[in-house]
């Protein structure tokens, strides 16, 4: 019996060896002998953007990251930027500083729109190219007026930093930062005025995150929340406590609508769970009945 079994297998193996033999010449002529397969796979299967858009080189980063850059504060820019909120949202060097990141020779040419680094009092206009609403509020605020009058008032970088810029939250208003220029009392009052609305925004963000993990597409709610929160935070740059207090109800109502929609979706998820649980129990019971029926003694 063993001999028969072995002979069947040896026949099968002969076929297999024949197939493999056919492969050898083609394998030998196929590319990829110099590179390990894992490297090739990583390169060609996993990291190459098959959509046709090749990973672009950025000469700004390459240069700032190299030995050419002598000043340490300039050299750490790429690292700081990669940790930033801008990086997360695809805001790159040329979006703020202009220039051409694809052409080393012309990267810093004014012909390619290179603006370089702004002077201290130019920072608000520099950032305001994108954050136009905030710039308007800032210019009319005490902060903006102080900068214009003396050239030394707080600008965007004073509170938000530059390359390592993070998503702003209410804790950006703190005693340590504000007392660099004035007493904390007024800032504290401002923080209190913002607190409830910010808390509500955070709560809705968390709720939407839970829904996303639960398989709900929340693009519309995300967009509405983003624009509402941005509008509210724009208001803060006026540094006008009475204006914020006046507008808080309006924003509360807007946020309430998003919150209500998110709650409704949460309830819908609970309903879905109960609905499918009913079918689960139904089929579980049916299987139990059929099992018992199959065990019933026949006549």
């Amino acid at each position: 019996m063993k001999a028969e079994s072995l002979s069947a297998f040896s026949r099968g193996m002969r076929h297999l060896v024949f197939f493999l033999g056919l492969l050898i010449p083609v394998v030998a002529s196929s590319p990829g002998k110099a590179e390990t397969y894992r490297e090739m796979f990583e390169k060609e299967f996993l990291t190459k953007p098959w959509a046709g858009e090749q990973a672009e080189s950025n000469v700004c980063l390459e240069c700032h990251d190299s030995e050419v850059m002598k000043k340490p504060e300039l050299r750490k820019i790429p690292e700081e930027w990669k940790k930033s909120w801008h990086y997360e949202h695809n805001v790159s060097c040329q979006d703020c500083h202009g220039g051409d990141p694809k052409d080393a020779a012309m990267a810093m040419s004014p012909q390619r729109g290179f603006a370089g680094s702004p002077k201290y009092n130019q920072v608000p206009d520099f950032c305001g190219k994108c954050h136009a609403g905030i710039l308007k509020q800032y210019i009319e605020s005490g902060h903006g007026k102080a900068l214009r009058a003396s050239g030394s008032g707080p600008n965007c970088v004073t509170c938000h930093g530059s390359h390592a810029i993070q998503k702003a939250d209410i804790d950006i208003i703190n005693e340590q930062r504000c007392t660099q220029c004035h007493s904390y009392e007024r800032a504290k009052e401002m923080k209190q005025a913002l607190f409830l609305t910010e808390k509500k925004i955070k709560g809705i963000e968390d709720e939407l995150a839970i829904l996303k993990v639960g398989g709900v597409f929340t693009e519309q709610e995300d967009a509405t929340l983003f624009s509402t929160a941005a509008e509210f935070r724009t208001l803060f740059h006026s540094v006008d406590v009475s204006l914020i207090k006046k507008k808080t109800d309006e924003f509360s109502e807007k946020l309430g609508k998003i919150e209500a929609k998110a709650r409704k979706t949460s309830r819908e998820l609970v309903f879905r769970k109960n609905f499918s649980a009913f079918f689960f129990l139904l089929f579980a019971c049916m299987s139990a009945v059929l099992f018992l029926l199959s065990k019933t003694p026949k006549e």
Partner: protein
Amino acid sequence: MWNRIKSWIETRIGLNEIVRSQLTEYRVPANINIFYAFGFVALILFVVQALSGFFLLIYYIPHSDHAFRSVQDIMTVVPYGWFFRQIHVVGSNLMVAVVFLHMLSVFFMHSYKKPREMTWLAGGFLLLITLGFCLSGYLLAWSQLSYWATTIVTTIPTAFPYIGGFIAKTMRGSESVSGVTLNRFFALHVSLLPMLLAAIAGLHLFLIRRIGISAPPFGADGVKRPWTEYSHDSHPGGIPFYPDFVRREAFMVVIFFAIMFFVITFMPTLFLPLDANTPADPLKTPAHIKPEWYFLAPYQMLKLVPNRFLGISFQMIIVTVFLLWPFFDTKEEDNILKRPYLRVVFLIAVLFWIILSIWGKYS
């Protein structure tokens, strides 16, 4: 009223005779076991997929600009759209699992042996078509997950020298996965593959009925026949197909439905993770792209074999040997318990597949 309808039908097509010959007097082996029901479960799951797919098709828009949005509308706006989509998604995974289990049990029972080689071959093609369904259906949601998983799978043929690029381009209809690929996969998914599956499943069922269900090789030794000429394996001492075996099949079907609704209830995002809920972005490659669980073993094997062409060729050889196995294994012994070498190979192969899948998942 009911009797009148029955009588009306009986007069025209002789329904009683069909029920008697095909159900109540049709015999299956007395020692038939529950694993023989996997084929029927796969058939029922295919019907479930066809029905749920029909409802999805009403609202789905096969265009790269609208596909993702239409799927999200099915999930959120269309009444009970989420229910049909979840059934379709979970059902597809269950179908692959059931077809795998069916083929494993057929292999273990040696039911592929003469005269059932064609039945095995048809079953093998049904497995490939099922995987084709999964691959083509996966892209239709047009999410980050589906887009990039399809990109990986359609890149695999490029491992073939000379013709690889052509195969990949033919599958995609363009240099990269695009709206054209979506249209091609959609046409495959809702038109060609269902027809192919229905035709081959019909042939598979015909062969089973024509030849007769094979008896499990364990326990009492059955009558060994040389099979030099055609004869129906009628199992005169067996049990009636209806109600005895149908009851076992129904039991297995409801078990699988219970599993399906368990997953939908308690693990609704098992097959729809966060990336499945993000619109496809051809310019943004997700950090970790992994194929679905049933493609994890071949995916991992591709990563391990130190030459792309050798890797894919090796896999094709495995598939070919698997499909043509009844022609390789011509030994008369049909009890795997009496074939220690084959048993070891079988166990190693299954274990290897499981290890590669887990490795692929976490590597």
